[in-house]
Symmetry: C2
Subunit: 573 residues, 2 copies
């Protein structure tokens, strides 16, 4: 495989050999290694010294189930630290088929022109782009599909990325031509700062990837596949109800943050639950289950139609529904779906924007429960009005604009859909992951709520530090393979499935590594990320939850009670 | 003397003895010591754990010339670090006459009510305030003068402080009933967060301060007074032209930052110079020279009238005139004076707002040169519109809202009126003072430009580190005495004047300290401040100038060329 490198300061590109040190890295391990090696940690994230790195996972492009995830790495304009943001869609597998181990974009072009980048088997073309400027992602993808055909991959930024907003994401075309997102950390702003509106991927005649031991790979892949399908979460709940199955579960557990984290349960939960969503989708002739990338066997995505049975959104996730729903006291699934569509179109992280709306409600910009108000505010972001500039820069920024202290963020990144006081394991992850508040970085909801990989009482401190630490390490490896995080349910509950994951990597790369070896890669990656953050000026003081989490949250009247020493022991390097 | 303490969470107050460790501290040394001892460095600056501390200087209330300055300390919502913000006016001397060593305000009241605080010889009264909410500072001071008489001191916040904006200052009534400001670092937002609209000071029947050796004090004060009056800067240039005398001087030196730091000289300099201002004031029957506090012998303040000879502003400083003038390419002194008046009235740091306007021009919100546009934008801040919320939170915040990298701040605080590339000594101060970019923290313009205290070539690196370090230490002592920074010209040029300053302190407190002992207090205070900042999460990465200062600035084509190691050696503790 090769490294493709683009220098936007002079619109040049090169194809480079993969250095030995990066050969057994992919996805997050690779993007973080490249960013740590090549980006000055003290640089301005929107300045010419920052870089934007795309990498498929170690297993991407193979027949391994759920291995088509893309990692995008950079210094984050939201957190000020290193960022790996992860997306489904078709891009990762096209990179893999093209033999592109990573695409590194550096520099900023002089002048005001915008550009588009086309990646193909012989390299890269960079052209000026004018037609699609200031257009939303749906129109960009539709136009590019018309321009280049169905089989072209697209990674694009919406208006938010062009405005260089810290909530701007990078959207990736999925197999149905809809939108998946590298959502978190404002990497769309970095792409915007480099004046790239979109990147197209043509994998025709790509060399594809090599597998050292095809037979061994096939055998392991079978066990892995079967493991995912036979687990009750990834084989049953997620395919049927999508991630939104969690609304009722978290509401029951008292961990569904309601009205900007004032309560842990929501009177309107049933109306926005996965069960209600499923019935609505069926009634409106939507699609209740499909994958975000080819080869996904969990298929937790869906197509949600509006009242006229017309497409409204897809990849409609629990966290988005929680955030615009319970978090804002909105119980209208159609409004939430419209907000999700708008976020995808404008190119905004829907978690960040949902917590931003909660914050705007806290400030009195609109009232709690005002669903139409949310859509109006998203319109302001799309237009880039002053109010839109505030909101589009995220929850911390909005809180600061209005002088608030009740703002649910860590490292300026919005806290997602699980109250850290009553699902304490994920709270430890929010505080300590180098990524800023991110449930996917160490999804302790597994053992806390779903009783996957054992059980750790969500309301007690005991065991949470170890749980979060182990999950953070394991997740970093999963992210490095290009695997969907939802393989973790089966991996955590079955040693055979975990071994099969490692066997696939060994079979592909001709290595003889143990699970422990690969977890060591996870640990090393976390260390690299923490060192980058430290050199960027972040300290242990950034590994803390906001002060207001010392308040009790009903119904369990739980509080956030970890000491600084305990938090500093999670990733002690 | 006593410590007055107010707890806003239950509207209570106490009068406490001064602990021994604070007896020989005043002004900045004392506010920083109290903040460092009592405020959790990691706290939210707008939350209940932050405190707001007012302290007169060691010499305040005596006959020492220029000793009536007030220090205000807190954790800054702008920089995230410790802050001492310094103001003239009548408050410091009233505190001293009341025997108040420091006023400490802690807690936040529950509910939405606003309060006012009345300080008098028997303690403190706290009452609800409704009439003056949402009113500008000029109206507040006028109303309170009507309510309580001429002889009542006032410290107040305008709309900006009520909005808890990071550029909000605390305004102090001066001897003419006009406004002086504890401008920098957003301490008006801290006062707003504590729901205090204003503090009145009645020093009737105050015990006054004691002097251990009156004769010795009188002798030293005479030498000090004479020293100030006989120095060409404090005895001649400042009384006649005010601080605005610096426009022509910096313009000649190529260090007058023009068009958001793109050049070091401004075609319209003459029109906004101190000489032009003097002629205009005389023509319009203004007052060319008076002091910001009783006992000032330098008298660099003035009353600037409008075209109809009516009061427009006073305390019309070089930095303000530079910022809205050369920085914004505006050469209309009346517009700049109106902007100054509006900043005073809304309660905004005029340096922060001037650089914010440069940043808004950089973003294209208005054009460079658009003076009326500046006034319109200040109106937005006053109204608290979304655009006003952006601007009122300062230059860094505005730059972030618009995705800019050319933003002249250090630790989020705006860089003032001397280009750090062509006046390198003050650049070292901007980078390294614990206060965020602040020329007054180590005013190397002395040796770099004015040839006071020797000469260090402003365009060369040699000697700047030592210059800035020595000035930072000396200034911290001057700030602790409650002395105006402009005493430094005479102190730097005359050993006798420096000795007289120390003799006054010794005479007052019955101590036998040397100059070196008091400079040690300065060093200790700086160390306390740096330790607080480190515990707040700031690191050496915050002691850097923005990347764009690596660009050459005409006319000297100077660049910012200090290494990180050099900067880290300035205050090596």
């Amino acid at each position: 495989m090769k490294i493709y490198r683009i220098n936007m300061s002079n619109l040049s590109s090169t194809i480079e050999e993969v250095p030995d040190e990066w050969r057994l890295m992919g996805g997050r391990a690779l993007t973080s290694a490249i960013v740590a090696k090549e980006v000055d940690p003290a640089c301005n994230p929107l300045g010419s010294k920052n870089k934007l790195v795309f990498a498929p996972g170690l297993l991407t492009g193979t027949m391994a189930a759920n291995s088509g995830r893309l990692s995008v790495g950079s210094k984050s304009p939201l957190t000020g630290g290193i960022k790996e943001s992860n997306a489904g869609g078709t891009a990762a597998q096209r990179f893999a088929k093209l033999g592109v181990k990573a695409l590194i974009i550096e520099g900023i072009p002089p002048g005001d022109k915008y550009y588009c980048v086309h990646v193909h088997k012989d390299g890269v073309n960079i052209k000026e782009e004018t037609e699609l400027l200031d257009k939303g992602n749906y129109e960009v993808i539709k136009t590019l599909t018309d321009r280049y055909g169905e089989n072209t991959g697209v990674m694009t930024i919406g208006q938010a990325g062009e405005y260089k907003m810290s909530a701007a994401n990078i959207s990736v075309k999925d197999p149905k031509g809809h939108i998946r997102s590298a959502g978190r950390g404002g990497l769309g702003a970095v792409m915007g700062s480099k004046k790239i509106k979109f990147i197209t991927l043509d994998d025709n005649d790509g060399a594809g990837i090599e597998i050292a031991d095809k037979e061994a790979f096939k055998n392991a892949a079978k066990i892995f596949n079967k493991g995912l399908l036979s687990h009750p979460v990834s084989g049953d709940a997620l395919p049927k109800y999508g991630t939104d199955v969690l609304v009722n579960i978290l509401n029951e557990a008292g961990g569904l943050p309601t009205k900007n984290f004032r309560r842990g349960n929501f009177a309107g939960a049933e109306k926005i639950s996965g069960e209600t969503m499923y019935d609505t989708i069926m009634e409106r002739k939507g699609d209740p289950t499909h994958g975000c990338h080819v080869g996904c066997v969990i298929r937790c995505s869906q197509t949600y139609n509006d009242k006229n049975n017309k497409y409204l959104t897809s990849g409609f996730e629990y966290e988005t529904i929680w955030g615009f729903g319970a978090g804002c006291e909105v119980d209208d699934l159609d409004i939430i779906a419209t907000a999700d569509h708008e976020c995808d179109d404008i190119g905004l992280d829907s978690i960040e924007m949902a917590v931003t709306m909660q914050t705007a409600m806290e400030a009195g910009v609109i009232s709690f429960g005002d669903g139409p108000g949310i859509l109006k505010l998203l319109g302001e972001v799309k237009e880039g009005t002053p109010l839109g500039r505030i909101l589009g820069n995220g929850a911390s920024f909005t809180g600061k604009a209005y002088g608030l202290t009740r703002v649910a963020t860590v490292k300026n990144q919005a806290i997602p859909a699980y109250d850290p006081r009553s699902v304490k394991g994920v709270g430890v992850t929010y505080a300590t992951t180098p990524m800023g508040a991110d449930h996917t970085a160490g999804y302790a909801v597994t053992a806390n709520i779903l009783k996957v990989g054992g059980f750790v009482d969500p309301l007690q401190k005991e065991g949470q530090i170890e749980l979060s630490r182990n999950l953070q390490v394991a997740t970093t490896f999963i992210d490095s393979c290009g695997l969907c995080i939802f393989v973790a349910f089966a991996v955590l509950d079955s040693g055979d499935v975990a071994q099969a994951m490692v066997d696939m990597v060994n079979a592909q790369y001709g290595t003889k590594s143990s699970i422990g070896d690969w977890f060591e890669l996870g640990r090393t990656t976390l260390q690299t990320e923490k060192e980058f953050n430290r050199a960027a000026g972040l300290t242990s003081k950034d590994d803390r939850l906001p002060e207001f989490f010392s308040e009790e949250v009903p119904p369990h009247n739980a509080i956030w009670d970890f000491t600084n020493q305990e938090l500093d022991s999670v990733l002690p390097f």
